[in-house]
């Protein structure tokens, strides 16, 4: 089977206010690319990326779903609290002729939380995971793309408790972490809330060891 295509960096947009696609971004997309054919049977219908930045990841997801042997048509949402990032995502989508993704500027899930309950089949999240002093998390600007506070977990720990509410019965999460975030610990913690998990990919980057945490509900299979 030939490899499915993902977004192209030459058609991806960002500026100094937007997180540039890096090793973490590419690892997440590599994992999705390897996993995509599973969606031919599970058929995700609502997919959301939290913190879409340049749009490289959500564009890749949209392209992957299109290329499946039975293309999957889904409601695709990209959200970011940075207007610059939202605009970069919209441009990146356009450059790849992807027109079925809605982009929304909001902090975390904001106005979507209520209506999306139990609906999200695929949630993608490349959080600000770098351990920093807690003050940096709220400092705003480009720092908010990476500053994760204590253990790099401040934003991650605001999102994890929302998963039981947000994800559909077959819903799954793909999230970027580094060792300091304790990825295996996250998987263990989420067991209490009825989730199973695995490390779906790992890579040594310059100064960090990246892992993709993949979580899904106990009852369903991978």
């Amino acid at each position: 089977m030939s490899e499915l295509a993902v977004a192209e960096i030459k058609h991806t947009h960002w500026d100094s206010n937007v997180y540039e696609p890096s090793d973490d971004t590419f690892l997440l997309v590599d994992v999705l690319q390897g996993y995509a054919r599973k969606w031919e049977s599970s058929k995700p219908r609502c997919c959301l990326e939290l913190g879409c930045g340049s749009g490289f990841v959500i564009t890749s997801l949209a392209l992957l779903l299109r290329q499946l042997s039975t293309p999957v048509r889904a409601q695709l949402l990209a959200i970011d609290h940075s207007p610059a990032a939202a605009e970069a995502t919209a441009r990146t989508l356009r450059s790849h002729q992807v027109e079925d993704v809605e982009v929304v500027i909001t902090s975390l899930f904001g106005p979507l939380l209520e209506r999306l309950q139990g609906c999200v089949d695929v949630l993608l999240f490349n959080p600000p995971y770098v351990p920093t002093p807690d003050e940096e998390v709220e400092r705003g600007g480009i720092a908010s793309a990476w500053a994760g506070g204590w253990k790099g977990r401040r934003v991650i720990d605001r999102v994890l408790p929302l998963l039981p509410k947000l994800l559909s019965p077959s819903g799954e999460l793909f999230m970027v972490t580094v060792t300091e975030n304790e990825p295996q610990g996250i998987i263990d913690e989420m067991k209490v809330h009825g989730f199973q998990g695995r490390i779906a990919g790992q890579r040594q980057a310059d100064e960090e060891t990246l892992s993709i945490v993949h979580l899904w509900r106990e009852a369903s299979s991978t």
Binding site: R45, H81, D100, V104, P111, E114
Partner: protein, 116 residues
């Protein structure tokens, strides 16, 4: 899919839409997707949005799942749901009147500090 998330707002759904500019582009017609998403649609809210965006024509006052067998209905539902976009304008909270701007098709739902 949006509802107003300002603290203490109870009836923040659906948003009213103020239109400055609407855009249209063609989308692939996929009955399976439409059938799947239909149960998630709040029909009166959808209709209200369609009226604001000028694409209500041919959509019934009430809708139920049996209509999904009707190709004509599906085509009109498809058009209003997936082919008509608010390019420039605002989403207005029905309770407080707070406006959230939509620019280049992207709604800015950020709240001020005193709102969250």
């Amino acid at each position: 899919m949006l509802s107003c998330h300002i603290k203490n707002v109870r009836n923040g759904y659906p948003f009213l839409i103020e239109v400055v500019k609407v855009s249209e582009h063609e989308a692939d017609f996929d009955p399976d997707f439409l059938k799947h998403i239909f149960p998630r649609i709040n029909w009166p809210a959808f209709l209200q949005g369609a009226v604001s965006l000028g694409c209500r024509e041919g959509l019934p006052e009430e809708a139920n799942e049996s209509m999904l067998e009707d190709e004509g209905f599906l085509k009109r539902f498809h058009h209003a749901l997936l082919e008509v976009f608010l390019e420039e304008g605002s989403l207005v909270c029905p309770e407080t009147g707070r406006k959230f701007p939509v620019s280049k098709g992207i709604p800015n739902m950020l709240l001020n500090e005193d709102e969250c």
